[in-house]
């Protein structure tokens, strides 16, 4: 039974005289390789020349700070929930007095780790984030010698105030509009939540 219409019945048949001579086949093959002399090599010499990437390219994550330089992440855990690869883990902590310039809200992530070996760079964490804290950037995750080095902590994820990572490409109007749509559960804030009616039975 043929599964496709491309299937071909193969039989071993006697070679014809010209096939037994092999020379025509050899010259045919030689001409094929010769034609490759005039073909452009598709190689991109990576460290010297960088490949042009798409504007929606999803690379290494960044944890953004706000305009005042405080971390935006509140360790709500929505990104970890959204993550299909279960690559994100975090621990939350309460902001102490005098740390207002470090953390924007009263709760923050004391530990925030992304396992880059598990991450599939789908960008769902970015979509899930209600605080505009996590973004995927056009940076390539560097390789390493051990698996442990590929678990990125806050030291590698949080941007520094001196060199903020530009994510304006990721904050297109339609994305921002999407973030405001309260019909999505993960876009609702505490204030939007409808008061729950206690049912008595």
């Amino acid at each position: 039974m043929a599964l496709t219409n491309r299937s071909k019945t193969v039989t071993v048949r006697e070679l014809t005289w010209s096939e037994k001579l092999y020379l025509p086949a050899i010259f045919k093959g030689m001409m094929i390789t010769f034609s490759h002399l005039f073909k452009r090599t598709p190689t991109i010499k990576y460290p010297d020349v960088k490949r042009e990437i798409a504007p929606v390219y999803r690379g290494q994550h960044v944890l953004k700070r706000d305009e005042a330089g405080a971390e935006r992440c509140t360790a709500c855990g929505l990104c970890a929930v959204a993550c299909p690869a279960e690559a994100i883990t975090m621990e939350s902590a309460e902001r102490k007095k005098g740390e207002e310039n470090l953390y924007r809200e009263e709760k923050y992530a004391s530990i925030y780790e992304i396992n880059m070996l598990r991450c599939i760079f789908c960008g769902l964490c970015e979509e899930a984030c209600p605080k505009e804290a996590i973004f995927l950037t056009d940076r390539i995750v560097p390789s390493s010698f051990t698996r442990g080095e590929e678990v990125f902590g806050k030291d590698k994820l949080v941007e520094t105030t001196e060199s903020p990572i530009d994510v304006t490409l990721r904050q297109r109007p339609e994305v921002l509009e999407f973030k405001k749509d309260k019909r999505h559960y993960h876009n609702r804030t505490f204030k939007d939540a409808k008061p729950r009616i206690n049912k008595h039975h």
């Binding site: 050899i26 094929i32 002399l37 090599t41 010499k45």
Partner: protein, 343 residues
């Protein structure tokens, strides 16, 4: 006479140096051409276009650790690659590299020695070349090396037969064994390949087999024999084996150009109206152009054709090329008889 002796010594050194330089840049050319044929870039880190790659490779070869396998025969292990290299370099002595330069009315021929058995000398040196591989492979005390050596020797002996017989037809036609004389004859007439197309085809196939180049590179067949006869070799001893292969390629290209493709002669060379020495230099350039084309064909074939199976190799050598070369001798003889060229 003394001036001639000094000139010959200089020519010896020059041929040696040019062979080595050609071999070095053939390694670069091979890698570059392989890359281009496979739509890759190839070596381009060392110098512009990777032109310093042979230097880097040479330095690497010399700096690497010398390894001698345990229980191997130390003397023979070192003798093997040396012998292979020496025989590879010896063949350049009878090649006519040009017609000759006239200085103060004395003609200095651009050939180290024009012995009247030049072709036999070539065959003799080629047949000695197999010892380097055999001794090296056996002394390694490794079964892969031994198998590679056995393959190499049986292959080279088998193809020497067809090669010698294909040359006999050429010798019948030209009536001389001297390469210088054959080159001069082609100045007057057409290139020998016009009269001996089958002989040339047999010769070039045998040249591929004799130099252990693809598709006849079974002695170093990495899919079965790790590295063949040079499995146990490292550093410059391995380098000598690989280098000698390229020198063999260079010399066999030169032989093919001299015997079949007019040697240093090029078309319409006497119509240009050039002086003796300018013409001689142009002729040498023409010979080198022919050699480069043959080297290109060597590499082009290597990166196109897959390797033979061993029984196919023996079948081709003994049951196709040998009868063909005998038939070629027969046809040449008949044609010469009909044209009344036999006395």
């Amino acid at each position: 006479m003394d001036a001639m002796l000094i000139y010959k010594l200089i020519l010896c050194v020059l041929v040696f140096v040019v062979s080595l330089a050609m071999a070095a840049y053939m390694t670069w050319g091979e890698r570059k051409l392989a890359a281009i044929l496979q739509d890759r870039v190839g070596p381009d880190r060392a110098g512009p276009l990777g032109l310093l790659q042979p230097v880097a490779d040479g330095v690497k070869m010399f700096m690497k650790e010398e390894m001698l396998p345990g229980k191997s025969n130390r003397f023979l292990f070192i003798l093997g690659p040396c012998l292979f290299m020496v025989t590879a370099c010896m063949t350049g002595a009878v090649i006519p590299w040009g017609s000759g330069i006239t200085i103060n009315g004395v003609l200095y021929p651009m050939q180290i020695t024009d012995i009247n058995i030049g072709l036999l000398y070539l065959l003799g040196v080629v047949s000695i070349g197999v010892y380097g591989i055999m001794i090296g492979g056996w002394a390694s005390n490794n079964k892969y090396s031994l198998l590679g050596a056995l393959r190499a020797s049986s292959q080279m002996i088998s193809y020497e037969v067809a090669m010698g017989l294909s040359l006999i037809a050429l010798v019948m036609m030209t009536g001389t064994l001297s390469l210088g004389e054959i080159s001069r004859q082609q100045d007057a007439g057409l290139a020998n390949v016009v009269y001996q197309p089958l002989g040339f085809l047999i010769f070039i196939i045998c040249a591929f087999a004799e130099t252990n180049r693809a598709p006849f590179d079974l002695p170093e067949c990495e899919s079965e024999l790790v590295g063949g006869y040079h499995t146990e070799y490292s550093s410059m001893k391995l380098g000598l084996f690989l280098f000698a292969e390229y020198i063999n390629m260079f010399i066999s290209s030169a032989v093919m150009a001299s015997l079949y493709w007019g040697g240093y002669n090029f078309p319409f060379q006497h119509e240009l109206g050039l002086e003796g020495n300018t013409l001689a230099i142009l002729q040498t350039v023409a010979l080198f152009a022919k050699i480069v084309i043959f080297i290109f064909i060597f590499m082009w074939v290597r990166w196109t054709l897959p390797r033979f199976r061993y029984d196919q190799l023996m079948h081709l050598g003994w049951r196709v090329l040998l009868p063909l070369s005998l038939a070629n001798i027969f046809i040449t003889g008949i044609v010469m008889y009909l044209m009344g060229k036999l006395n």
